[in-house]
Symmetry: C2
């Protein structure tokens, strides 16, 4: 069913009815605002997300590589970690990541809470240990009080730390993109070219993997389906977890929400522009060479997926005390 | 004139009169809220302050080492720069830095605007050049529009960049500390011990250098006046600028505002705690060994200098475009 038909026939039903019909007929759904948040826990999680004392150096926080000023990414091919370590894979955006079927490109963490513990203890990222991170927090009265308020106990555990970070991350959704406004019935929210791009996105098959609220994030797919993907990056995707040869180069389909802000693209970060990414995806995944005009229309559509960025006060972190273990950036 | 006398005699004048008298008699003045700010320029400056694209790596921003979640410092002995370079000197707080007589420990920048250009082009810090930083900004329509709004021209210059950052930094003052509330007449804003610490701070001579609104920042003084300061740090202070032997180890007196948050202390960051810093300052600068009780009282007073931290929304940075030069973290 063509969208234009839906709009035309639905117009008779009035605005609300049209919006419902249009939404029901589309493979992409509007981002929903967060409905259930433990606010005190999310506030604590926000502080932890911004706190570099969860790293060995005292310099790297979650926000270093999933920077909320920059679409929840670092906009680098692969990230910079402890001691300027060059990361093995592109940092995925934290925005709307609560919608992902699993976390990391290879899905090795089931959820946000499990993910949050990874980088803290990764020697090439924050290079700390869970025990040492908790020791730091325990030495800071401002944190001890806040953990007690949220979890009702004087004890701080890594389980609480990652739960709080995950609760904050749940709030990082981006509703009200132009495309969502269009889905919700505002016919003028996107242009004719952007609409044409969306039609191409559907008819050429992109939408087979990039669908739902997050326009991705729901499945694992082989990178290089029709034609093999050439890269020097050593990541093997799902195969690294399952050990199955059939899972080689299977990665979690990334969300396309806010994709204008989350450059560069692919697990290796090798596609610097959306034009390049759309061209490669067309050829390697769909066996289709998009014309320049088609490519530009799809890119125009993709840019309508930029939603309201999370806005909040920069958190003020409780200061360390004389008892707080000192960061060791140069050991 | 003893403070108690001022309070006693002033009490007859009523609250407002007492406050004025008390303030007039004290060598420390309350932090004044900022009165004249170009808001659009400060908003632009805030974005630039948080933008790591002003560095070669795309990873380091002003906020990396002058972190506004952590008292405007990085809480490290010396900072981490490009390629994990170990910085030569402790990063001073940006909070209330507009009150400093000059910028940097050795005063080599006359003002905030001049300071802001330094780290961008320092090979051990952001490792970029002014030309390349401006080229990045010119390629980003969101910035081009905002610079035009603020400066009325399509051209972006490093002069505008540093002026905007300085305007933002002017807003980073911290009024309403407990000590300021006490100065302003709230007799219960600080405890008896904190008041005793302040008396010691005055009578023992700390206040000779740490005075005024910023409780420091107004002069250059020799580190190790009565007794030489032992350090492996190679910074020579003012002598590095003037070439005069008499200026060796003369550093700008740091502000003590928010000193509870700006650990570790001294130009080499070698004093990890306030207790240690007060002890060393007493012995080396004043020839006086504070008793444990005296030291604790002075530390208690110093902690009353923590004011309202600047609160603002984390800025959302305008995204790069296909034409934006790509960061080079690992070149």
């Amino acid at each position: 069913m063509k969208l234009t038909k839906v709009i035309t026939s639905a117009a008779l039903l009035g605005f609300a009815g049209a919006a419902q019909l249009a939404m029901a007929a589309e493979p992409i759904a509007p981002v929903e605002p967060v409905k259930e948040v433990n606010l005190a826990e999310a506030e604590l999680g926000k502080k932890l997300y911004f706190d570099p004392r969860l790293s060995k150096s005292g310099f790297i926080s979650c926000n270093s590589c999933h920077n909320l000023s920059m679409g929840g990414t670092d906009n680098l091919k692969t990230s910079i970690g402890h001691n300027w370590n060059q990361g093995p894979i592109n940092a995925p955006t934290v925005l709307n990541s609560s919608m992902n079927v699993a976390q990391f490109w290879d899905g090795r963490a089931a959820d946000l809470k499990e993910q949050a513990g990874g980088p803290i203890a990764n020697p090439g990222e924050m290079a700390f240990t869970h025990v040492l991170a908790v020791d730091v927090l325990k030495s800071i009265p401002g944190y001890v009080r806040e953990f007690k308020l949220v979890y009702g106990t004087d004890q701080i555990s890594i389980d609480q730390v990652t739960t709080a970070i995950a609760e904050f991350e749940k709030t990082l959704v981006t509703p009200n993109s132009p495309f969502d406004l269009w889905l919700l019935g505002d016919k003028d929210a996107i242009t004719a070219d952007e609409k044409a791009g969306y039609e191409l996105f559907k008819t050429s098959g992109c939408v087979a993997c990039h669908n739902g609220q997050a326009v991705g994030g729901a499945s694992f797919q082989k990178m290089g389906l029709v034609e093999a993907y050439q890269t020097k990056n050593k990541a093997e995707g799902l195969a690294g977890i399952t050990g199955k040869d059939a899972d080689r180069m299977k990665f979690k389909v990334p969300t396309l929400r806010n994709v204008e802000m989350t450059y560069p693209y692919f697990h290796d970060g090798e596609a610097q522009t959306l034009t390049e990414a759309v061209d490669i995806m067309g050829r390697l995944q769909l066996g289709r060479k998009f014309s320049d005009k088609e490519n530009a229309q799809i890119v125009a559509f993709l840019k309508t997926l930029t939603g309201d960025q999370p806005t909040f006060n920069l958190p003020i972190l409780p200061p360390s005390t004389d008892k707080t273990p000192v960061p060791k950036p140069f050991d």
